[in-house]
Amino acid sequence: MATAPEALLAEAASDDGLVARPPSRARVTLRRFLAHPTAVAGLAVVALLFVLAFAGPHLTRWSYSDIDYTALRSGPSARHWWGTNRIGQDVFAQTVRGLQKSLIIGLLVGVAATAGAATVGACAGYFGGWTDRLLTFVTDLLLIFPSFLVISVVSPRLKGGGWLVFALLLALFGWMITARVVRSMAISLREREFVRAARYMAVGPLRIIARHIVPNVASFLIIDATIAVGSAVMSETALSYFGFGVQPPDVSLGTLIADGTGAAITYPWMFFFAAGLLVVFVLAVNLVGDGLRDAIDPTSARRRPGRRRAR
């Protein structure tokens, strides 16, 4: 082993450095993801939604809080593209403003909760012993905490951070069940031979978790995250309804939908634009999730032509 570097360098020199770099997992996964048309479409839709949410306010002369007393409950027109609501606010301005909030809350909660769950669950499962006991205790503790009460007590005191901190609070109470599942999966993975092999090759425990444990529970994590995105938007709505979270005159997709539900039949523009965007958003996230899962899992049922079993 002491002679290794010299010998290797000598051999490499004779190789003329012609060899291409072997593709790493990140690049293989990216390539597989990009080869998945619906996943790319989903990603494009999410990107377009972001563009709409952040460029939209600059396209219209109305701000989300402006009130046009000359047009109450008026339908879509050149003056108000998506119409106005019952007090004369511009629906387009409000919807894009709400979309900003909901996109960020949804994605942030989905990603943060899942990442937290993966970290806690994988560490508890892989290390076992006292780490496991401590982390499981914390998980169970948070699980029995009345999250609604905690958020309602804490959020009024967080004037500075506002809805961003609110999103983190939602994430804080959204990871426990996932973490418990990840923990049990990690316990069985820990005994698998490839994890043992990595340990005997002097791969550090945190690297083993990142390289072997988490990718092998990724399918579950991704499905969980895509569901969490949708439910985060809805639970934000529920909390906002009770006066926590996003407060008027500020809006989110959730509050817009809640306000517009009653008028869905009589004044459809108040409801359907916001609801439609939410559906499009959740759908796009699901497509991205599916694509990512297939890209990470090489045994996924999708078969691409030209890639047969190696002989």
């Binding site: 290797l8 072997p22 090759m201 990718p215 090489p298 890639r307």
Partner: protein, 699 residues
């Protein structure tokens, strides 16, 4: 051939359009033993199950299976039920799943009897006890009341045979009856099968992948490949002069326990490639893509199974027309005169590489591994909330090993002998419970983290199951690079090293972006070896590296290991339950029994002059793939199963099964019962842990 009792003709089975069996003809004469050989996926088990009508409804069965002239294919469930277990009985591979766990063994045999015979419950019970006695179960009256889980694997297989012969069947189908068993237990079970056949006079269809088992048991052999019979012949003719290149390759690929006349071992002959996937068969002969003798006509039409040797009489007198010797090969006459090495080229220098001869002695070099008196016990805990220790499992209880640089030590023993625990104790690099472990000249006591990391670069492991030991979610390039990255190698080095390693083990560097599931079993094991070689280790620990592979693929891996060892000067700790493989690969051998080393020495010496009675029994139990020699051998049959490692008997742990102890007079027995024998030198570096070592030729 007399009137066949079981006549299978044109049998086809397909599962959802994918053919598993493609036109099989088999004739089983009364009282005859027919061996059905083939690799995994060749359709041999499906053939046996189809004969019994036991395939799932999704399978589409065609052709005909006649039992004494009565058609079984397409027969109703009622008609089949009258036949199954009565006139045709089956012995399955896995006896645990073949018994209902909640009923007593005796009751299950009684049920089998009373389903087909009009017998009172008492009489049937008495018959069940008789049957259990016949298959060699001690205290049959007591054991009949036991549940399946209370039986060991070997005992369950005996009970299974008892159940199969309960109604004096005409035909016994045995599907890999000994594959899940240890070699000494396998010898017992084969013996029981012989007894059962003698008692009932049944014909036996023995399905197996093990040519040694077939050579010892069968009268005639049929070889299956890709769902068809490719050769069938009387056992002696088949082994002496096979006429199908595939059969020739199979025989050449099996490592043998016995040496040839000059005391040398023949190089193993791997068959290139892998069997075709059932859905994607090549046109023409299914074996043509792997066959070095293939001609254009082989790729056009599939050859029929015909009596060979008609045209070859003049050129090859030994292969004179024999109506019983059929082969599906257009060049059958030529093949009959060839030896495996003539047909299958051994790639590169693989064949020329021989390990140091018996006279060569041990290399003068440093120890890369020295283990003295290693022990490891696992606590047996009881209780749900407060766990209390109720006993200990002595998994490893006194193991001594030493390997010098460039040397190969084979570690053999049956399951439960503590081989794997020994490996893992060494690899953990932590101070052992008892004894000492020195790796690359360093004691594992008081290693810092940095030291341990450096030490791990010198010792790498290859696991048994190549699928389980490769992360399914990592591309092969990353898998191979992992040990390099763990040693903080820089990126450029990794980028250069990975293609080089893949080439070295015989894989395409361009396959680095594929995932493990895209490779065949043999290729996966090559990936595992490439990974282990990445950091240029000095010692490679091989944990049953070929036991999950088919013989033809196994030969390729063994040759690769031999070549790598010669090229890189590696030392191997080669753990295996298969003595033939150890004989082929190792320089020295250590035999383990119940967590202890019982005999060590040079391979040629230990295999030729085994001194410990356990080694003798082990060697004598391994079947030779040579019908003439196999049938001429006398076999030492060990009674019973290894005792549980939870109890540590006083004195010699082997004495409960020892053939030498049984023959001793009471005065000398005393020594075995009170004193545990230590490993003592027996001349040269041959050591054995026995009070009364006596030489005995067993091969």
């Amino acid at each position: 051939m007399n009137d066949p009792v079981l006549d299978i003709s044109g049998l086809t089975v397909d599962f959802g359009g994918v053919p598993a069996v493609r036109g099989v003809d088999l004739h089983l004469g009364r009282g005859e033993v027919l061996g059905l050989v083939g690799e995994s996926g060749s359709g041999k088990s499906v053939t046996a199950l189809a004969a019994m009508g036991l395939l799932p409804a999704a399978a589409h069965v065609g052709g005909s299976v006649r039992l004494d002239g009565a058609e079984l294919v397409g027969a109703g469930d009622k008609a089949l039920s009258r036949v199954r277990g009565n006139r045709v009985a089956m012995v399955f591979q896995d006896p645990l799943s073949a018994f209902t766990p909640v009923y007593r063994i005796g009751d299950q045999i009684v049920e089998a009897i009373r389903t087909h015979q009009d017998l009172s419950r008492e009489k049937a019970a008495a018959r069940a006890v008789e049957l259990l006695d016949l298959v060699g179960i001690p205290e049959p009256r007591l054991r009949a009341a036991a549940f399946p889980h209370e039986f060991s694997g070997g005992m369950r297989q005996r009970a299974m045979i008892a159940m199969a012969v309960a109604n004096n069947p005409d035909v016994l189908l045995a599907d890999e009856p000994t594959t899940a068993l240890d070699v000494t237990v396998q010898a017992q079970i084969l013996d029981v099968l012989r007894t059962a056949r003698r008692e009932t006079g049944a014909a036996l269809l023995l399905v197996s992948h093990d040519l040694g088992v077939i050579a010892g048991m069968a009268d005639r052999v049929a070889v299956m490949y890709a769902g068809r019979i490719v050769e069938t012949a009387p056992v002696d003719a088949l082994f002496a002069a096979p006429r199908m290149p595939y059969t020739l390759g199979l025989i050449g690929a099996v490592p043998r326990l016995d040496a040839d006349a000059e005391g040398r071992l023949e190089p193993l002959v791997p068959i290139p490639g892998a069997p075709p996937a059932p859905g994607a068969l090549p046109p023409g002969c299914a074996f043509a893509p792997r066959c070095p003798l293939a001609e254009d006509r082989c790729r056009e039409t599939e050859p029929l199974l015909t009596a060979a040797g008609r045209a070859g009489k003049a050129t090859h007198p030994a292969g004179a027309a024999d109506p019983a010797h059929l082969a599906a090969c257009v060049r059958a006459e030529e093949v009959g005169a060839l030896r495996p090495l003539d047909v299958f080229p051994v790639p590169g220098t693989d064949g020329a590489l021989r390990k140091a001869g018996p006279g060569g002695g041990r290399p003068v070099a440093d120890d890369v591994l020295r283990v003295t008196d290693l022990a490891r016990t696992f606590p047996l805990l009881k209780g749900a909330i407060v766990k209390r220790r109720v006993g200990s499992v002595h998994a490893v209880d006194g193991v001594d090993l030493d390997i010098r640089a460039g040397e190969v030590l084979g570690l053999v023993g049956e399951s439960g002998s503590g081989k794997s625990t020994t490996l893992f104790e060494i690899l953990e690099l932590r101070p052992p419970e008892r004894g000492s472990v020195e790796v690359l000249g360093r004691s594992v006591e008081g290693l810092t983290r940095r030291d341990a990391r450096a030490l791990r670069a010198g010792v790498q492991i290859v696991f048994q199951d190549p699928m389980a030991s490769l992360d399914p979610r990592l591309p092969v390039g990353d898998i191979v690079a992992e040990p390099l990255r763990a040693q903080h190698a820089d990126r450029a080095l990794v980028a250069r090293r990975v293609p080089e390693l893949l080439r070295r083990v015989g894989l395409e560097p361009a396959h680095a972006d594929r995932f493990p599931h895209e490779f065949s079993g043999g290729q996966r094991q090559r990936i595992g070896i490439a990974r282990a070689l990445a950091v240029d280790p000095r010692l490679l620990i091989l944990d049953e590296p070929v036991s999950a592979l088919d013989v033809s693929v196994q030969a390729g891996i063994l040759n690769l290991l031999l070549r790598l060892r010669a090229e890189l000067g590696l030392a191997y700790l080669f753990v295996s339950h298969d003595l033939s493989v150890v004989r082929h690969v190792a320089d020295r051998v250590g035999v383990m029994y119940l967590g202890r080393t019982v005999e060590t020495g040079a391979v040629a010496e230990v295999f030729a002059r085994p001194l410990h009675p356990y080694t003798q029994a082990l060697l004598s139990a391994v079947p030779l793939p040579d019908p003439v020699r196999e049938r001429a051998r006398t076999r030492i049959l060990l009674p019973g199963d290894p005792p549980s490692p939870t109890s540590r008997p006083s004195g010699c742990p082997f004495r409960s099964r020892c053939q030498v102890f049984a023959a001793l007079d009471p005065g000398r027995k005393e020594r075995c019962t009170t004193q545990a024998p230590a490993l003592a030198p027996q001349g040269g570096d041959h050591t054995a842990a026995c009070h009364f070592p006596a030489e005995r030729a067993v091969l």
